[in-house]
């Protein structure tokens, strides 16, 4: 089934014309409403009238995560505050989160895009669908929620946490669909097994999984254990949230809602656009966004756009799974974590040497983060000669980490000199997660 064949199946020429028209409009809009973009265009001697077709997009400047950070909190917001009806925040690299404001129309576009995803997965108004992404500042929960309501299925806002109660509801309510991270799906399967709930007692048939990288073998395991069919959904809050791209029943790449989010693949070093099919860094331009539109936002995600037509009938371009990052960002329990965030916490506490190591692992299908820090020799005084005092120090660091990273981390204290000194490009991350 297709939610909006008019947009999802339009001819390539028709779509390119629509994209060109929308691009001109959005450039004109940001030129007049966002001083940051006006200056960037002026520096390149560009005016909105220079952008006439979608092919002109290559003339436009890029936007980076740093630009969002430098313009914290509302510098890139184009709509007046009175038009903003929701604000989400995602993790930033140095303490400041990225703030994204949405107008009523943006929320509508988001719901529409999400409805396209869910319909492609096979969700209909007859489904009972639980959203087990975190509800809150994170875009996953509310983003998926609105889409389920748009489709007309019964939404169960389960959020994360209290997995046992969720498992019980899945069985007792006959819940048929679920949206969550793939690792949470495995954790849920485990919880159900420990509660004695079998696959035969539940009616789950569709899973919308995203917000973290996953693999075909994880898909097989989730499908086997929960008895459903799992679909990939991709998105990022800087662009919208979940619903930027989605798999269809063919499960051969994820279709991009490119009438709203225009994708390009660039060489992350030279910034040159790459031809269709070549792997590189994924870049998005929001073609219709009012709250915080972005031009050529560098996602840092590496993948390629797929040539050719999909057997499902949709004509919107597909992207391959994400194969990596062009920066050092980690995704832990669906949350973006930058080593530099940990660094800022370590540097703020003089009791620790300015060195650290992040160890990421997956235990019982849940990501774990350990932050190893070194005691600074000159700060180890008689005050610290009891475990209570040392544990208090560790707790202070753990609290700071949690407030900066939005996820909890285990702090491991090492003796002075125990963490390898950096020589040239230092290794600060050990990722033991086996994405089979």
């Amino acid at each position: 089934m297709i939610w909006n064949p008019n947009k999802e199946c339009m001819s390539r020429d028709e779509r390119a014309a629509l994209q060109g028209k929308r691009l001109h409009k959005i450039v004109e809009y940001v030129y007049h409403n966002v001083p940051f973009y006006r200056h960037k265009l002026q520096e390149q001697d560009l005016t909105p009238d220079d952008i006439r077709s979608i092919d002109d997009i290559v003339k436009l400047p890029f936007t980076t995560k740093k630009d969002l950070r430098d313009n914290y909190p509302f510098g890139l917001q184009a709509a007046p505050q009175s038009e903003i009806i929701r604000i989400h925040a995602s993790s930033g690299t140095t303490g400041n989160p990225t703030i994204v404001g949405y107008t009523r129309k943006d929320i509508g576009v988001w719901s529409e895009c999400m409805a396209r995803c869910l319909t492609a997965f096979g969700v209909t108004r007859n489904d009972i669908f639980s959203v087990a992404y975190g509800y809150g500042l994170f875009t996953g929960g509310l983003g998926a929620h609105n889409g389920v309501e748009m489709v007309g299925a019964s939404v169960v806002p389960a959020s994360t946490g209290n997995t046992e109660k969720h498992a019980k509801l899945i069985r007792d309510l006959g819940i048929t669909g679920i949206a969550c991270t793939p690792s949470y799906a495995l954790y849920l399967a485990e919880t159900m097994e420990s509660m004695g709930i079998t696959k035969e007692q539940i009616k789950l048939r569709v899973g919308a999984f995203g917000a973290e990288p996953w693999t075909e073998s994880m898909r097989e395991e989730i499908q086997e254990r929960l008895g459903l069919k799992g679909f990939n959904i991709y998105g990022l809050s800087e662009i919208m949230g979940p619903s930027v791209s989605y798999e269809c029943q063919a499960q051969d790449g994820s279709h991009i809602n490119e009438d709203h989010f225009y994708p390009e693949i660039i060489n992350p070093v030279t910034l040159e656009p790459l031809p269709l099919g070549q792997p590189g860094e994924l870049v998005f331009t929001t073609l219709t966004k009012e709250g915080m539109p972005v031009l050529r936002y560098r996602t840092r995600d590496l993948c390629s756009l797929m040539p050719g037509e999909c057997s499902c009938g949709r004509t919107n371009v597909r992207m391959t799974p994400i194969t990596g990052r062009s920066d050092d960002m980690l995704i832990i329990r669906g949350i973006n974590v930058f080593p530099s965030q940990v660094e800022s916490v370590v540097l703020s506490m003089p009791e620790f040497a300015p060195r650290y190591m992040l160890v990421v692992d997956r235990v019982n299908n849940l990501d774990t983060l350990e932050v190893q820090v070194e005691l600074r020799q000159e700060y180890f005084t008689a005050t610290f000669d009891t475990p209570a005092a040392i544990d208090e120090l560790k707790k202070r660091m753990a609290d700071k980490l949690r407030s900066v990273l939005s996820i909890s981390a285990k702090v491991s204290l090492k003796a002075p000199g125990a963490i390898e000194r950096s020589q040239g490009k230092s290794v600060r991350v050990i990722d033991n997660r086996k994405l089979k």
């Binding site: 005691l375 020799q377 204290l413 002075p416």
Partner: protein
């Protein structure tokens, strides 16, 4: 009245303790008493030795996380009830014991105590029937 104890942070990894003990050996320092407060992740080694100041400098130079802390070293002999007397005295004066450990050999011994109120603890021990060993006597205990 108090003496210097060395407090050393050790990771729970084989070889860390050996490395520290070798430093004492190489410097010719006698360890008179020791205890380890262990946790799942690390240990705190506490040592009473001859010449604690010199030991501190040697360990610091070797990059070890080491601190000097003030503790009481109460002298014990073969009469029973001495540890009880000290502990009762501290308890009645509402002084908390942060930690304590002891050794006893050939009719005499040392009870090492760190109290949360050092000044008041000093008063209590002075009023008791026991005496504290001053740091200058420590070398005698090492032979």
């Amino acid at each position: 009245m108090t003496i210097n104890q060395l407090s050393i942070f050790l990771e729970n990894r084989s070889g860390t303790l050996t490395k520290v003990l070798d430093l004492f050996k190489e410097a010719g320092l006698h360890i008179l008493a020791s205890s380890i407060a262990d946790t799942a992740q690390y240990g705190l080694l506490r040592i009473i030795c001859t010449e604690p100041q010199r030991a501190y400098l040697e360990l610091e130079r070797a990059g070890v996380a080491v601190a000097l802390s003030d503790v009481f070293a109460v002298e014990l002999d073969e009469r029973p009830g001495q540890i009880a007397e000290v502990v009762r005295g501290l308890s009645e004066a509402n002084i908390g014991i942060v930690y304590m450990y002891s050794f006893f050999i050939h009719g005499k011994g040392l009870l090492i105590i760190r109290a949360d109120k050092a000044e008041e603890a000093r008063e209590v021990i002075l009023r008791s029937s026991l005496r504290c060993v001053p740091e200058k006597e420590l070398p005698e205990w090492g032979v």
